[in-house]
């Protein structure tokens, strides 16, 4: 069970780290100064969440590794995030909608985790939940603004939805071990997460008058370490310093 929880902590951490890294790519490229600062604030929150979950993984592993080792010294096939979080940042509509999908997911996830009977998970869930509430306020406000403003903004939001929608089911993938952990009150129940997420997201999409794409290829594989080509490039950049100068600190 410890091994299963270790893998689960990695899934949480890797998801937050890849989201945080993608947002950090906006630093200096935001649509205007205030939004540039806001995007990187959220990025830092997410990297903070990753750090908490990596630390939980380290404590479960019984090895002498550190949180930094897990972030900077694992290769793509060892990452457990869903493909959604590693996708390139795209345009601002794409980043915004992806963030909204993940924020709603995180809201329900951390609400559930803060009730976990595993103390470290419950504490991390509470801390993350507080920050995610603000992330969601922001990303939801932006979804509404963009969808209800100019024709170009609306069209870009619709394009983002078409491109992202079939990456979202992977957020809710579970296996036998995870269902057992959920039954034991350790992790969230992903069936009810999915239910809550769908209700909330579909209500907003309706309000924004965005149309769900009819059908498409559904992404999967991240939880088994089978990633898109994007993750490798991201890690190459993110991990460069530790790979080139092992143990480097500043």
């Amino acid at each position: 069970m410890e091994q299963a929880l270790y893998q689960y902590a990695l899934r949480l951490a890797d998801s937050s780290l890849t989201m945080g890294q993608r947002l950090a790519e906006w630093c200096g490229h935001g649509p205007y100064l205030e939004e540039d600062v806001a995007l990187t604030n959220v990025s830092l929150d997410l990297i903070g969440h990753a750090q908490m979950f990596y630390q939980i993984a380290v404590d479960l592993s019984g090895e002498t590794k550190t949180a930094d080792d897990l972030a900077f010294l694992r290769d793509a096939h060892e990452f457990r995030n869903p493909l959604l979080t590693e996708l390139p940042r795209g345009d601002f509509a794409y980043t915004t909608l992806k963030q909204y999908f993940v924020d709603v997911f995180n809201l329900h996830l951390y609400q559930a985790l803060s009730q976990s009977n595993h103390q470290p998970l419950a504490q991390a869930g509470k801390k993350a939940l507080m920050e995610v509430k603000y992330h969601l306020t922001r990303s939801q406000a932006w979804c509404e603004r963009l969808s209800m403003s100019t024709a170009e903004a609306k069209q870009r939001m619709q394009q983002a939805l078409d491109d992202l929608w079939f990456y979202t089911p992977e957020l809710f993938e579970t296996d036998e071990v995870m269902r057992q952990l959920a039954d034991d009150g350790v992790i969230a129940d992903y069936a009810s997460l999915k239910n809550n997420w769908q209700k909330q997201v579909e209500a907003l999409l309706k309000k924004c008058q965005l149309e769900l794409p009819a059908s498409g290829w559904v992404a999967t594989g991240g939880l088994q370490g089978e990633h898109s080509e994007h993750l490798g490039y991201m890690l190459a950049e993110m991990q460069f310093l530790q790979r080139a100068y092992p143990g480097c600190e500043w």
Partner: protein, 93 residues
Amino acid sequence: MSEMKLYEVFIRAKSGLNHRHVGSLHASDAEMALMNARDVYTRRKEGVSIWVVESKHIAASNPEQEHEWFDPAEDKVYRHPTFYPLDKEVENM
């Protein structure tokens, strides 16, 4: 960006203190201005409350009238409440 407006930002550093002007920012409306203010001006735990007001709603005195408006107060020290003794019990005045 053409529809962005300028807002002035006021932050209350902690409960009991006044909101103080800290700077300005761009936003399309008050809701966004509040969020931008939170993200730009309270990143280092500078406050517990934010006010924003669109800059155009602030009426300002004319800098060219600075002397005629404010210099007359310069030589009227008797307006400061320093010419009478205070009871010992009064600590903050």
